[in-house]
Amino acid sequence: MVEILLDATIRAGTPILFATLGAILNERAGIINLGIEGLMLIGALAGFAGTFTSGSPLIGVVAAFAAAFVAGGIHALITVQLRGNQIVSGLALTMFGIGITALFGRTMVGETITGLERVAIPGLAQLPVVGRAVFSQDLLIYTSFVLVFALWFFFYRTRVGLALRTVGENPAAADTCGLSVSCYRFFAVTIGAGLVGIGGAYLSLAMTPMWIENMSAGRGWIAVALVIFSGWSSQRALLGAYLFGGITAMQLRFQAVGTDISTHILQMLPYAFTILVLVVSTIRLQKGAGQQPQSLGLPYDREDRK
């Protein structure tokens, strides 16, 4: 029982985890991205279509990353190069993503693919409780474990990570050190978008191996909230994503077992929890825990005289 719940928790949390990590990469460079929901859908459709045409889910994952990378490039172009409004651009990206995937996804509706398979790690997969949940998963879940650590290492142990954090905190400081603010921001946005796209692909390749219109169902928005909850830290993003995964797993379990509680209420739980998380983490933020990047949301113009 615990084993099955834990397994379902991780599988439900993984798409949100990828999306949150991608959004953290964006925001660490100072760019708010409200297009996460749209990027997830683009990733989901590209991943499904890639797998459907090639027969290989790995090519599907690459296609998802590439498609979201390009779509993220639109956001980067508007917010970094043209110094446009990040909120408006992000919202537009979400609407664009919903629309374009509905349009191009029509031919994919009802098709089936062989999704990502579970790969058991010999020995470890036989462990009690965690064996199936942690060590008998698909490749994307193993990737997400590595990614959490890799992002932390990148931010706090590499020169480029330090430069990226500086760009998000005080772009003028990075500029006077001879670093290109727009280059760092551009790639933080596009690569981050690519990660969000992989999160979307997880939906259509592993969770339910099919394409359903608007299948992200608000997970992108949950990721946006989780960035704040995580205090821009990848480890806390893991915690947050699995918390949501857990709630989703629980409510599915409740529905399967059958209770008197209305399914509408149960399905609402993860979203209600989002609101709660936002309230709590905003209060924490105000108390000074987990500082947000100081230049988050602000375009950088070198010749702007303050």
Binding site: R165, T166, A173, C177, G178
Partner: protein, 505 residues
């Protein structure tokens, strides 16, 4: 000596402003070259051109006799030109080490912390500085933050160091230490461009001085050719420095009584710590101190912009300790804020709207829920002529006005209801001489009418000229009072660094 850098006929304009008109001068190897000029003369703009942050509209730069074009600070750094900006280019949330590392050359992608810490520590030891590499920058004093900026350049092995008003945030004693370091760097053959408008320092350290005025370089003088009077005359353009009559018969009536005030900042640290002050009617009370020692918190607490943690603010019978900004204003406390563009005005509204911003609820400016546009415009016309505000058009956003005229709009608004107390935070910062004199006149005229002023300023000369008493603030505490008639700059300097206390007023 060899000419390291030549600057020829540089011009730079911003929308609506000619920041640099025509500037030429040269820097020799191993010299300390001072750029002297009023605020707004174009010193900082010129330096931003030199470091590639701004692109000049016209003119050329020659380095070692060859023409160069800097499109980014990366280019100028690569050619050995580095700058300590007036507003530090640091990330407050990062450690000293992280801030310095970013500026270093040839750091591998995955670096060994120890190796680089040792490299940085070597420079710190060489110049006998006191810096903890693992401390977060926001916890450090402004003086220490400046050392970080300097170390960044030293590690880059810059040939030409530009320091933009480095002493504005230092006590006289800290400034002396900086000068000692600069002289050592000079002996190592480095050139230094030093920007200041403090005459004493300029006389002290410069090999040559170039005077900038209204975006033009008007003279370059060698050591021996310049003295205080010549430089002041060149810089200001007239040899008189007007003196105001000090109001020596203050009444003993206390209009504002600040008792044991404590204010904490967002990080929970004390900006003001057990601060007490009494303001008498008709008095101009100066607050001297190095920037960042609690001046802003004091002004914000007095005007109701910041909550008070402990202590009381009494205005006559009224207790203003926990009153809102609006209530403070109604009970007669006016405020000239530090940052005139972001707090003082609503930049996109026009002059007329900005002028009634604090009295728009007044029945004379409205008909029920509608605005009385005629009265509002009439008020604007009246204030514009009375305060000699130069506006392009009545409906143009106020941000298009020059700094001096924006300040006049704020003053006109704040003084229109005849306040009992004026809290002025750096009211002349960034203003040209004429506008600054105007601000001084408003304050002294007000004092003659019985208005009391708390004048927070960084220029000791300004304080000595205007004030009846000077209170010195250090780390949020009142260090003591100085009498402008008898004190010296050195004494105030020692008090500003917290080394000397004198509580008796």
């Amino acid at each position: 000596m060899a000419e390291l850098l030549q600057i020829k006929n540089i011009r730079k304009t911003f929308p609506g402003v000619v920041a640099l008109d025509d500037v030429s001068f040269s820097v020799e190897a191993g010299e300390i070259h001072t750029l002297l000029g009023e605020n707004g003369a174009g010193k900082s703009t010129l330096m931003n051109v030199l470091t590639g942050l701004y692109h000049p509209d016209r003119g050329e730069l020659l380095l070692d006799g060859k023409q160069v074009q800097f499109t980014s600070p990366r280019n100028s750094l690569a050619r050995g030109i580095g700058m300590v900006h007036q507003h530090f280019m640091l990330v407050p949330a990062h450690t000293v080490f992280d801030n310095i590392l970013l500026a270093m050359d040839r750091v591998p992608l995955i670096y060994d912390r120890k190796t680089f810490q040792q490299k940085i520590q070597k420079i710190i030891d060489e110049f006998e500085l006191d810096l903890d590499l693992n401390a977060r920058v926001w916890k450090l004093s402004i003086g220490a933050q400046q050392w970080i900026e300097l170390i960044k350049l030293l590690l880059r092995d810059c040939r030409l160091l530009i320091l933009d008003e480095p002493t504005a945030v230092l006590t006289p004693q800290e400034a002396d230490r900086l000068f000692a370091v600069l002289r050592r760097l000079q002996q190592q053959g480095k050139s230094i461009i030093f920007i200041s408008h403090k005459m004493r320092e300029v006389m002290d350290i410069s090999d040559r001085v170039t005077v900038l005025k209204k975006g033009r370089s008007i003279a370059t003088l060698e050591r021996g050719q310049f003295d205080r009077e010549t430089l002041a005359t060149l810089m200001i353009g007239s040899d008189q420095i007007p003196q105001w009559q000090k109001n020596l018969q203050m009444s003993d009536k206390i209009v504002l009584d600040i008792r044991n005030l404590s204010v904490r900042n967002d990080r929970g640290l004390a900006d003001l710590d057990d601060f007490s002050l009494q303001l008498k009617e008709g008095e101009i009370l100066g607050i001297a101190g190095v920037a960042g020692n609690g001046q802003k918190a004091l002004a914000e607490a007095l005007t109701g912009l910041k909550p008070v943690n402990r202590g009381r603010i009494l205005a006559g019978e009224q207790d203003l300790t926990h009153s809102s900004a609006r209530a403070s204003y109604i009970s007669g406390i006016a405020h000239i804020p530090e940052d005139r563009k972001s707090i003082g005005i609503a930049p996109d509204l026009n002059v007329a709207d900005n002028l009634i911003m604090k009295s728009f609820k007044n029945p004379c400016y409205r008909h029920g829920i509608f605005q009385n546009l005629r009265a509002i415009r009439g008020n604007a016309r009246d204030k514009v002529s009375r305060f000699a505000i130069k506006t392009g058009s009545d409906t143009a956003p106020v941000r298009y006005l020059s700094g001096g005229n924006i300040q006049k709009v704020i003053i006109a608004r704040e003084l229109s209801e005849r306040p009992k107390v004026l809290v002025a935070l750096y009211p002349t910062r960034g203003l040209d001489i004429g506008s600054a004199e105007y601000v001084h006149k408003v304050i002294t005229d007000g004092a003659a009418d019985g208005m009391s002023t708390i004048l927070i300023a960084e220029d000791l000369d300004e304080l000595l000229k205007l004030c009846d008493r000077i209170a010195v603030i250090f780390r949020g505490r009142l260090i003591g009072y100085a009498d402008p008639r008898t004190t010296t700059r050195e004494e105030i300097g020692l008090m500003m660094s917290g080394e000397k206390r004198r509580i008796a007023s």
